[in-house]
């Protein structure tokens, strides 16, 4: 369990570092997705702390069920994350007409405050 948790946090960290160090806008968005994968996995790990059995209650079945609440909650977050990702990629497509390389440095050089 501890190793699993460490792996999840490593995923979040790697994703965050990716958004920092990748120079390309698409790569930054992908790194953000890696990070959100890590966060989603963390919710699943938290849900599995009490047990891993699918939380569908049947009379007379006494097993260690997984906690349904974090799973239900993260489902919403997955949908929102997906739609934001899609929206950003559409924006990037529009932007790529003006900046074919999509290098963040070039875009910021032209659009500095």
């Amino acid at each position: 369990m501890v190793i699993l948790e460490a792996g999840v946090f490593a995923t979040i960290l790697v994703g965050f570092l990716g958004t920092l160090f990748k120079g390309n806008l698409i790569m930054k968005i992908m790194a953000m997705d890696v990070m959100s994968t890590g966060v989603i996995a963390y919710y699943v790990v938290v849900a599995a702390k009490g047990g891993v059995f699918t939380p569908i209650w049947l009379p007379g079945r006494a097993v260690a069920y997984a906690d349904p609440v974090p799973q239900a909650v993260i489902l919403t977050a997955i949908v929102i994350g997906l739609s934001i990702q899609a929206l950003m990629l559409v924006g990037v497509m529009k932007l790529s007409r003006y900046y074919p390389t999509l290098a963040v440095r070039d875009i910021e050089l032209k659009n500095s405050p």
Binding site: I12, F16, T19, L20, L25, K28, I29, M32, M35, S36, V39, Y42, Y43, V46, V69, P70, V73, I74, T76, A77, I80, G81, S83, I84, L87, M88, G91, V92, K94, L95, R97, Y98, Y99, V104, I107, E108, N111, S112, P113
Partner: protein
């Protein structure tokens, strides 16, 4: 009241989608939803018992609305209404108005919810709708600014989600009060998300460029209400969780000074207004218990200023000082500057007095300094020379500005006890010192502060620094 609350939450979304089906009714439907919101907000202000709802059992959505919320709801309604009136006769498509309503509705939800997950959903919808409104003109610059906003806020909200599950682990629920028993890392992660969304302190460096690049009506919405969708939860947490309160107050002071400091060196009108928004959010957080009234006055003033700034012949303050501005813009901008500086007879005065009375002793000097700085900044707007203009104020904009400034006048009644001799003298002294500083020093300033903090990589890097510092604060206190 409970059923009314649910209708109030659903109505903007419902009408927003109906607009797609009946595009001919776009403008009346938009106005109808906003009118309903205004009525609800005002009604909520008169109810003595707060509305508390819990939908779907123990882990479900929890909503809590009281007098504090009503100030924010009225702000949201009035600012949106002014924006709708301003763009009434323009060429904007139904899509624009639908997004306007969805933004309005999601800000309402963010103001009402008191559990971390509903707040998360609301803030993400706010982000999406704000992105669509920012990017509406479709030029490369606004698309980039919108993408930058979405990337920064989404990454902040991912940290926030981790914090939310940590609260769940220790409290077995997602309520705000769960933060009392949550570990310090949960406090740091949740605060990080809200601070970035609300543009607070160094985590808010994304704000000036975003608010300055958007079209004037959208800037008015962003500065007037959107940032407050994250500020009210911060205020709420400060009131509910005693351990967090000093952190919020400290951040409020820091934000007020930082925003004023940057605004003093800014020569671009819209960027100056955006920096001032940052500093005003600091005023709200510095005295959380009375932040509602301050938020109302700031929302009205800032929306009026941004709407007016959209009509200025230039964005450069130095150029405006030489060329002058038309008188029909000079009067509303001057009145708005008066209110935000805390001049008596406009609601900004009462709000400032109330905030100053509720400060802790260690905050007083810093906040007085920030108030002087605010007066100095807005002297730059107030002392612009007026010229005779051939053109007239666009009709819609006239209605919008009238609504906002009229609201400021009426809101005086909220805290009329402020009008005592001692209370009146202090703001006048502050304004006098501020104007003196303006004529003595700031008017001649030609230096620029470095803007590297606003690059995307620095915005993201600042989050990791902020996380460490917030953890330290939450752990130490």
């Amino acid at each position: 009241m409970n059923q009314l609350t649910l209708i109030w939450i659903a109505l903007p979304f419902l009408l927003g989608f109906i607009i797609y089906l009946l595009p001919r009714l776009t403008r009346p439907l938009t106005l109808l939803a906003v009118f309903f919101s205004l009525g609800y907000g005002l009604a909520l202000g008169t109810v003595t018992t707060p509305v508390s709802l819990r939908l779907l059992d123990h882990f479900g959505v929890s909503l809590f609305l009281d007098g504090l919320t009503s100030f924010f709801i009225v702000t949201n309604a009035l600012v949106t209404m002014a924006v709708v009136l301003t763009v009434w006769e323009s060429e904007q498509t139904p899509f624009f108005f639908a997004q306007l309503l969805i933004l309005h509705g999601s800000v309402n939800v963010a103001l009402a919810s008191t559990d971390w997950i509903s707040l998360y959903v609301a803030l993400e919808v706010v982000g999406i709708a704000a992105f669509l409104l920012i990017a509406y003109p479709g030029t490369e610059r606004v698309i980039w600014v919108g993408l930058r906003y979405l990337l920064v806020s989404n990454i902040a909200m991912l940290f926030y989600l981790v914090g939310a599950v940590l609260v769940y682990e220790s409290h077995h629920g997602f309520d705000f009060v769960g933060l009392r028993v949550a570990p310090p890392e949960a406090v740091a992660l949740l605060l990080l998300g809200l601070l970035v969304k609300g543009g607070i302190f160094v985590l808010g460096f994304w704000l000036p460029m975003t608010h300055a690049s958007a079209a004037a009506p959208v800037s008015a919405l962003l500065s007037g209400v959107v940032v407050k969708a994250a500020v009210l939860p911060l205020v709420r947490v400060a009131l509910l969780v005693p351990a967090v309160e000093p952190i919020i107050r400290l951040l409020g002071v820091g934000t007020a000074l930082l925003g004023v400091g940057y605004a003093l060196f800014e020569r671009d009108v819209k960027r100056m207004l955006a920096w001032s928004t940052t500093s005003q959010m600091g005023f709200i957080l510095a005295a959380p218990e009375v932040g509602g009234f301050y938020a109302l006055t700031h929302g009205l003033v800032k929306a009026a200023l941004f709407l007016g700034a959209g009509q200025l012949p230039s964005r450069d303050l130095t150029e405006l000082q030489q060329r002058g501005i038309p008188r029909y813009l000079g009067i509303p901008l001057g009145l708005a500057s008066f209110s935000i500086s805390g001049f008596p007879l406009l609601a900004g005065f009462g709000a400032k007095v109330l905030t100053m009375q509720n400060l802790r002793p260690w905050q007083e000097w810093a906040m007085t300094g920030a108030a002087v700085g605010t007066a100095t900044i807005y002297a730059g707007v107030f002392f612009l020379p007026w010229t005779q203009a051939e053109t007239r104020l666009p009709r819609g904009l006239g209605w919008g500005l009238g609504l906002l400034l009229g609201g400021l006048w009426v809101a005086n009644g909220v805290y009329y006890e402020a009008f005592t001799v001692a209370n009146v003298i202090k703001p006048l002294v502050i304004i006098g010192v501020g104007w003196g500083l303006y004529w003595g020093i700031v008017r001649r300033l030609r230096e620029h502060l470095p803007a590297f903090g606003e690059q995307l990589e620095h915005l993201l890097g600042m989050m990791s620094v902020g996380l460490v510092v917030l953890f330290g604060l939450a752990w130490g206190w």
